[in-house]
């Protein structure tokens, strides 16, 4: 009897899980279908391309001397929303094989036009990309929940909270507000939300939080000292600079933010591992703790810096490819075009490396102190 009961409860548990996945899958599907047909929500006219004829329009010389093919497209589309719904419009489009500034359109694409509600407009503004965005986002959430379960859910929640904090802080920072001050506050909120969300309220969470903030303060100090003692960084080479008038403040904020995740990662890993050791062997000495902390630190350090390297390096690929094809030499790019990015990467890596001893120290002190207290009360 017991076995049968066990089997039944197991089956119910499993089917509950299956049902849950089913429900989420259904929500996902509905969301995707909704976004595919949400043209009525838009003020901008949207057209679905029904006919696309592509022809070769000629060749020109590319930067490396090879032939660059030019294409011409005749496009016909149907308007999906607004007062002109159902109207058929024709456009023409030109693009090159490189597709740097202009792009190819496919049959079945939905595109935003450059007109207003009543006026269709004369050309295509951009492709409607929200469907793909939702598909990917949903897929990420689904995969996280299926494979990582409850932890995955927590991850989604913390990411959501972080994005909300980011948006809130961002909207609050007016044009003349102190960006660095707001960013400092934001970083503390981020750290609290992420660490508590992922690890719960626990002593190791506080240890990790404290070490994260210490390390951040340290790297900002190092950055300021180095900047004031060396040649001024030329902020004008930063990407997306446009006409922003306080680049140095934004750069400070960028450093704070982009290093935060990695530093928290290191701090959490060390805090969790050390607290495991302390709870299992309360008599462990500081030296032993330090040694095992270092051992863990070695393992993380290299890979964490690698993660940042790839995130940072790959963002530079398109611009580098363009510049190098316009006879700017690679060394010139490093010297003149990306010193800011390079500097940011170095500072973040320093933060990761510093996080190891700092969090070992803070965690072991905190763990040891509390254990002594417990002993005294006993």
């Amino acid at each position: 009897m017991k076995q049968i009961a066990k089997k039944i409860t197991e089956y119910v548990k499993k089917s509950k899980r299956a049902k849950l996945y089913g429900v989420f899958g259904l929500i996902y599907l509905i969301a995707v279908i909704f976004v595919m047909n949400d043209a009525w929500l838009y003020q901008t006219p949207i057209a679905k391309l029904t006919k696309v004829e592509t022809s070769v329009a000629g060749e020109s010389k590319s930067t490396r001397g090879t032939q660059e093919i030019k294409y011409k497209q005749k496009i016909r589309g149907v308007i999906l929303n607004g007062t002109n719904k159902g109207k058929i419009v024709d456009f023409s489009n030109e693009y090159t094989y490189t597709g740097m500034l202009k792009q190819k359109y496919h049959k079945g694409d939905k595109v935003l036009l450059n007109g207003s509600e009543n006026n269709v407009g004369s050309s295509i503004q951009c492709v409607k990309r929200d469907t793909e965005l939702i598909i990917l986002l949903g897929l990420l959430i689904l995969v996280l929940m299926m494979i990582a379960g409850k932890k995955g859910l927590l991850t989604i929640v913390t990411v959501g909270i972080n994005i909300v904090i980011f948006t809130a802080g961002f909207l609050k920072s007016g044009d003349d507000a102190d960006v660095v001050a707001i960013c400092n506050k934001m970083v503390i909120f981020f750290a609290i939300a992420t660490l508590i969300g992922l690890n719960g309220i626990h002593r190791k969470t506080w240890a990790a939080l404290l070490s994260t903030i210490c390390v951040l303060a340290m790297i900002m100090g190092i950055f300021d000292v180095v900047i004031s003692h060396s040649a001024e960084l030329d902020y004008s080479t930063m990407e997306y600079l446009g006409s922003i008038d306080n680049p140095d403040e934004i750069f400070h904020a960028e450093i704070l933010l982009s290093g935060l995740g990695a530093i928290m990662d290191v701090a959490v890993a060390i805090a969790v591992a050390l607290s495991e050791i302390v709870t299992k062997r309360p008599e462990v000495t500081f030296r032993e703790l330090f040694r095992s902390g270092r051992e863990i630190g070695y393992d993380i350090m290299g890979t964490m810096i690698n993660v940042l390297l790839f995130v940072f390096g790959c963002g530079l690929i398109p611009m580098c490819v363009i510049r190098m094809n316009n006879s700017v030499r690679f060394m010139t790019i490093i010297k003149l075009h990306i010193p800011c990015e390079l500097c940011r990467f170095f500072i973040e890596s320093i933060g990761i490396v510093l996080a190891i001893p700092v969090s070992i120290l803070i965690t072991s002190v905190m763990m040891k102190l509390t254990i002594r207290k417990v002993k005294k009360t006993c």
């Binding site: 020109s60 010389k61 590319s62 930067t63 490396r64 660059e68 090159t96 740097m100 500034l101 792009q103 190819k104 935003l112 951009c126 492709v127 990309r129 793909e132 990917l136 986002l137 995969v143 996280l144 990582a148 995955g152 991850t155 913390t158 180095v226 060396s230 990407e239 997306y240 446009g242 922003i244 934004i250 960028e254 704070l256 933010l257 982009s258 995740g261 969790v272 270092r294 630190g297 070695y298 350090m301 290299g302 890979t303 690698n306 993660v307 390297l309 790839f310 390096g313 690929i317 398109p318 611009m319 580098c320 490819v321 363009i322 094809n325 690679f330 170095f346 320093i350 490396v353 510093l354």
Partner: protein, 249 residues
């Protein structure tokens, strides 16, 4: 440049011998990345360069930094399988949404006007390359974490079954995934902070922003990075379980 030197010293002081090894691997990866950029700029087929460089970078990171053994071999296989599957997926997404090339803001920058844009290099492929290579670091990290922990568990408890081993690997992976996803999130947020403040100054409506190339380019790398990290977990756990001695059924 001074910061680079500080970093160098810190890694050597704190990391010791193994710090030096990871430093060499890091510099190697930097050089490989530069080589990849150089090859792409010279007109080599972009996707082939990406795949080749991806494999070489994985080899350097796993085998040089962590030694050649069952752990790194199965991590390598797991990364290879995951990235191959995702490769097609990424390419389809990039093709459907046509997110290659410069985004709206980059295209409006001053110095772009002086450059000749007929490169005879398909920017759609370059965009795919960017996404794949930028996720690679995190995926390698994740795969190695899972395989290492499964390996440790199997040494301490040799009587465990394959399914139990896989389950324990997944458990460790779950512990790590939260911070990894957040690391990626913050790295991209920090990178695009300036972009956001730029957007605020320009009058972008929500509609145009949601469908813009800028947002898509920034989000897609992050989302794919996270997806790849999650997917590689079970793959790595199963592979290392099968590779370990005593589990070769």
């Amino acid at each position: 440049m001074i910061l680079g030197l500080i970093l160098l010293f810190l890694i050597m002081i704190i990391g010791g011998d193994r710090g030096v090894i990871s430093l060499i691997a890091l510099v190697g990866n930097m050089l490989l990345l530069s080589l990849a950029i150089w090859l792409m700029a010279a007109g080599a087929p972009v996707l082939l360069v990406t795949i080749g460089m991806g494999i070489i970078i994985s080899c350097v990171t796993l085998f040089y930094q962590n030694g050649t053994n069952e752990k790194t071999k199965s991590a390598f296989a797991a990364v290879l399988i995951t990235m191959t599957v995702l490769f097609f997926f990424i390419y389809i997404v990039v093709w459907r949404s046509e997110t290659g090339g410069l985004n709206e803001i980059q295209a409006a920058e001053d110095d772009v006007l002086y450059y000749n844009m007929n490169l005879d290099i398909n920017m759609r492929n370059v965009a795919t390359a960017v996404i794949i290579l930028s996720t690679l670091g995190a995926v390698l990290d994740m795969a190695l974490t899972v395989t290492t922990s499964v390996y440790e568990v199997s040494i301490h408890k040799p009587e465990m079954k394959l399914t139990e081993l896989v389950e324990s690997g997944m458990r460790i992976g779950r512990e790590v995934i939260g911070t990894t996803v957040n690391t990626l999130l913050f790295a991209y947020l920090g990178e695009s902070l300036l972009l956001f403040s730029y957007l605020k100054m320009q009058d972008y409506t929500l509609e145009t922003l949601l469908n813009s190339k800028i947002l898509f380019q920034n989000c897609v790398s992050m989302i794919f990075g996270a997806i790849a990290c999650v997917v590689v977990m079970p793959v790595a756990a199963v592979l290392v379980g099968r590779h370990l001695p005593g589990y070769n059924h």
